[in-house]
Amino acid sequence: MSIPGALRREVRFSSRDPVLWLWLALVLGLSAMSVAFGLAEVERQNETIQKLIDGDRHDRLAQYDKQESWGSAAYYSFHLTYDPPSDFAYAAMGQRDAQPWMHRIRMLALEGQIHERDVANPSIALIGRFDFAFLAAFVIPLVLILLLYDLRARERIAGRHDWLEATVGQPTSFWLLRASLRAGAVFVTLVVPVIIGGMVAGASPAKWFVATLGVFAYVALWTMACFFVSSWRRPGSVIMLALIAIWVAIAVIVPAGARLAIDRLVPIPTGADILLLQRETVNDAWDLPREVTMAAFFERHPEWSEYQPVEGSFEWQWYYAFQQVGDQRTEQLSTAYRDGRLRRDHMAAWVSILALPSLLERFLQSLADTDLRAFFEYEEGVRGYHAALRDFYYPKFFRNEAFDRTLLEDLPSFKPGNPGMG
């Protein structure tokens, strides 16, 4: 029989299976739910950001009105930094669930401000949000297993297996067609909501097309696995157990084991370590001779080395200098933290070649710019912005310029890396 004829036959046949329809309804419901949650969360984050953007300038201007020096104006001002969700973030929230995506930073020592949030959630939640990436990577394989494990065992129990094989010319392509048809129906019901979500979110078609390709390859791999295991001449329950064991191994055991091993292999300082060291450095500075602090500061800023601190009196130059020295002291630790986490992530990426669900999740997160790389890019943006703020203020401090509110219009403003949605 020609392929289209066989296809038509099996479509008609499968469409009369009520159990298949139930599974498809379940997948459609879960997928629509995950996409709806994702879109709502993206909207909430965008609204939060928009509200803060609106308030940012207004609050700062209100502060300036009360200030009379550059030093106190800088001290009391907050500056918004934020990482808007990408147009595909609705499908894969990734690091946005675990890491801060906005800060209100001050001219004070920065590393503490960056890592303050880390203290609250030091480790990434084991099971993340129920987003599309999670659904596709972890739940869909189970649906495929339950839908395909008894592809043949069911017919064997019914006493129909040999009859079917004796009747059809090419048994292998027959079973393969049945399996792919069911898996194909799951794939379509899975991706339709995410494509509609992409249209709602205004995501570029290229993005959800690539995502869809990735999900397709993933579903195809699992279908193949189910197909091969289900052709085993064993009772359906044994086949199902074997497939679930594969799932548990690559979705749970390998990633969890790898995380333990990687964490042990690549020790990293915690955000709290950084915060603590910086607080100590900054606090100690009050008691240190000022030349010591300034000497450390001048290493970075020789252009201001003419400045002579006066012991015993409060001076903003010295105050901001020891804030910066606080950052300098923790630089090594922050870099170790960042490099360590990136190294761990890099190793996890290699492991995910074995742990396929993680591989798909990481792939979708990288498309959505919600991976660790995107998160550190944002953090670098915050550091860059803080540096720009210092570049703005330092001349005013060290040249003892008179406070001029109008000059604050030239204050650098934060430019997010990812253009926001809509």
Binding site: M1, G5, A6, R9, F13, R16, D17, P18, A158, G159, R160, D162, W163, L164, E165, A166, T167, V168, G169, Q170, F174
Partner: protein
Amino acid sequence: MMLQADSLHVARSGKEVLSGISFSVDAYEVYALLGGNGAGKSTTLLSFLGFLSPTAGSVLVKHTDVYSDIAAARKAIAYLPESASLYEHLTAQENIAYFLQLAGMSASSPAIDAALDRVALSPNARRRKVGGYSKGMRQKTAIALAMLRDTDILLLDEPTSGLDPNAIDEFHQTIRSVADSGKAVLMVTHDVYGACHAADKIGMLQGGKLKGEFAAEGHGIDIEAVRKAFSATVVPS
């Protein structure tokens, strides 16, 4: 020669269940395999279908070794399994249409209806799902399907089980006319009387060995001889 077993040895789960049987079925011929439970009748049919490769000897379908081209052998054969279980959620017509399409045939509803007429499946049952059928009704559906396949060879495993006496009679007539149109029929049965009437040859199988063959001479097969041989085979030895 349509079907030929040549000192066929077959093992299942490591145990030899056919120990060197030889027989053949020609076109225009109905061959009945008789024997007690576990004698190896179904196993013999499955060997012709390419499901159980011989440990020794060979099976030929249309002069070709089955295991050298399983697909070709299966294409030449319509098979009625021992417990033909149809899809419960489909009607008789839908089941037949599906299986015919599986075999690469298209079937018109009138053709299917005609076949179902022939096995006397009541017309209003045809529109009901098979799940609500009696054993005999299911058997009739499966027989109709085997006839519609229109292959050169029919392998029928206990085709009359579950049929009422009238239906059995009808079936034997049908089988006769099928063979008379040039096809080869190999059927497994426990029905000595029926076998003697419908078959041209009877093979008596016991413990995986062919204990004797009876051929029609003049006026059919000698029922008394077959009955005696059959009782001998089913008496536990």
